[in-house]
Point group: C2
Chain length 413, copies 2
């Protein structure tokens, strides 16, 4: 196998990686182990203090990777001391050897840190079905301990870079909630769909909280963010979002959802997760446009989300967006195929601010020129109202272009 896919930075990328603030108690390290990629870090370690609460969300794939199995087995403890991530090999569909490699990774790091292996969380991303090189892992993992530094702007960016695979830029975000700080970084650009995406997302806060509260907070944030993005409708074996709450900022632990600090913390977590989710869409393989799909007037919020995802996942809608073609018939098609209650004669459609159709009919006032003007831009908004209820949802996707084919017909070569 040669090096990973090299491609130009997405045209939708942010100008620069954000300057992420420290989170008290978090230490980071990266290492270029050369397991797959050459000349770049491909291993990442985060170490958190004793008493850190951990919660998370894992892929719903029925063929999960060995690291996902491992995380699922240790998450019920609600605590943790470390996170190890490798990029290049997903350690998925690798059978017993995969389990062994995952356990080896936890053991090596646990021994070096003097903690229990069941306190070491794992994530792997990359090619599926190739065995992890156990010998190299055993040799290279200890190198991660040498470079451990306090989390700061530089080390966050290095960590975000070390977990990239086909990503064309590193993804980070932060927010504050009163005295507390929330920082996250993520990777993902293809095999992206709820629930969840081929994405890894790691969020750290210095707020003190119980495992139940941490799970409720991260669960809520994921539902509003990573579970509402799609690049290609493909769900990975490895999707993982973890929240580490060190409690190092002090204060009494938050143990109930009616704690007055919850609202700000949920808002901060939502902001960080949504920012990261949007960055993943902006790095969608081959993406040239960021697409926001809103459905209102559905029977329920869930129905609205299903219809919105049917629009966002439609290859015909996505190719029309790529071509800046205001082909709104394809939106009608997607609404029709979503399987949720809809009445053709009540549907209204907008492209940007231009209303296309009302009550199942193109408006006399509709200007394809104005709709096209909107679609030529890099941020396309498609809105539909089903006219039968008050359910609403917004999801995000990107267009489907030649770039997607280029990247995915050549990923392993």
């Amino acid at each position: 196998m040669s090096s990973g896919h090299e491609s130009a930075v997405s045209p939708l990328a942010p100008d620069e990686f954000p300057a992420l603030p420290p989170v008290a108690g978090v230490k980071l390290s990266t290492h270029a182990a050369g397991l797959r990629y050459k000349g770049r870090a491909d291993l990442m370690l985060a170490v958190v203090p004793e008493g850190t609460t951990v919660a998370g969300t894992l892929t719903k794939s029925l063929c999960p990777s060995a690291p996902v199995d491992w995380c699922r087995s240790i998450l019920p403890s609600g605590t943790g001391r470390a996170l190890v991530v490798n990029a290049g090999n997903a350690n998925a569909f690798t059978g017993k050897a995969g389990e062994t490699a995952a356990r080896l990774t936890a053991d090596v790091i646990a021994e070096a840190l003097g903690v229990d292996p069941h306190e070491v969380y794992l994530a792997s991303t990359g090619v599926i079905g190739e065995s992890m090189p156990e010998g190299a892992l055993a040799t290279e993992l200890p190198n991660l301990l040498d470079g451990l530094v306090d989390a700061d702007a530089g080390s966050w960016e290095a960590a975000a870079n070390a977990i990239r695979t086909t990503d064309t830029f590193a993804k980070g975000a932060s927010a504050t909630a009163g005295e507390y700080t929330v920082v996250g970084f993520a990777k993902g650009s293809g095999m992206i769909a709820p629930d969840m995406a081929t994405m890894l997302g790691f969020v750290f806060t210095d707020a003190p909280m119980s495992a139940d509260v941490a799970q409720a907070l991260i669960g809520g944030a994921v539902e509003q963010s990573f579970n509402r993005i799609t690049v290609d409708s493909d769900t990975s074996t490895s999707d993982t979002v973890l929240l580490f709450a060190t409690g190092a900022a002090g204060g009494d632990p938050i143990t109930a959802m009616d704690d007055p600090r919850i609202e700000a913390l949920q808002a901060a977590l939502d902001e960080v997760n949504l920012d990261l989710a949007h960055q993943i869409v902006r790095d969608g393989e081959g993406a040239t446009k960021f697409v926001e799909v809103t459905v209102t007037g559905a029977e329920s919020d869930d129905a609205a989300k299903i219809v919105a995802l049917a629009i966002a996942n439609s290859p015909l809608v996505k190719t029309a967006v790529a071509a800046s073609d205001a082909n709104w018939g394809r939106i009608v098609m997607a609404i029709g195929k979503a399987g949720q209650r809809a009445d053709r004669d009540k549907v209204a459609i907008w492209i940007g601010d231009e209303q296309v159709a009302e009550a199942g009919l193109q408006l006399d006032t509709y200007s394809e020129e104005r709709a096209t003007e909107h679609m030529v831009g890099a941020h396309v908004v498609l809105r539909s109202d089903l006219g039968i209820g008050s359910g609403a949802a917004t999801v995000w996707t990107c267009d489907l272009t030649h770039g997607y084919i280029d990247i995915n017909a050549g990923y392993r070569s």
Copy 2:
């Protein structure tokens, strides 16, 4: 709007249109009305004798076209005298005006033939959301009556050509069942997915049968054919399959499924429908490979079909096939995301005759070279055994290539 998309004939096309035999009682006509396409026939009329039984299957889209609504309203009669199809305009999402245009079409043809409008079946295919030009319809439809000829090799081919939109070749098939003949023609190449596809399929037989028997026969044939193909997972507003049984070959009407003639008739209908379905996949937009996806060992046949469609619809699997890349990890991903019972440690995978994996692990004997040799061909077979039951299903799709993007980012321009 300019003329329809022009592209080279699919590399997977049959060498030539088959020489279809006559079906007693069926008359055909085509006409170049210039409603959208220039220089080619875009209207098609089939006329069948009094007493002809009609049955069919219509799109499950909740935003169906006006012709689909019309057919749904008249199908319960189980009889019919004519079929009118236009290509270029789907008459979908056209509100009251669409209903009016559909009714006008039935009225004009009914009057010319001296039959009831409720005996005239309609299908439209093309762009969604544009009004049908009622004036032109009223003027042009009567021209169809002039050219009516008995169905034969030439008129079948003309009819199959007149209903094409983005199709790069006309699609026809035939089979015999004892003394009876079955002939069908179809169109479709994108917006193809169960249930059903953006496809129109019309099947004619001279066998005599009741409406119940006709419905059972065509329903069974569609489930084994058109409901098992996918090009891009998109379902159209206009999907229609109709069976016309003229009874002109004589004999007592078949009124029960235990009639001794049923077995051969079902086999003939299955053969014709599957042949047409495969031709649609072979004309999949941008297709360079015909892909057969088989799943065995599933909990049930339904589960096997869901998993097979998850594989067949995965953009990552389809781009890997396009690249002749034996990236079987993407098959694992698709099995995992399908949501059906699967146990990673029991899954076996084959690419062509080359077994890749067994019990959730790549085999030592696996040769990527041999797998790639198979994938380079134009007929790719992907097989998975889930190892947990006896459910099995095969579905068919094509690869996802730059050609798909080219066609769909330019369809209306």
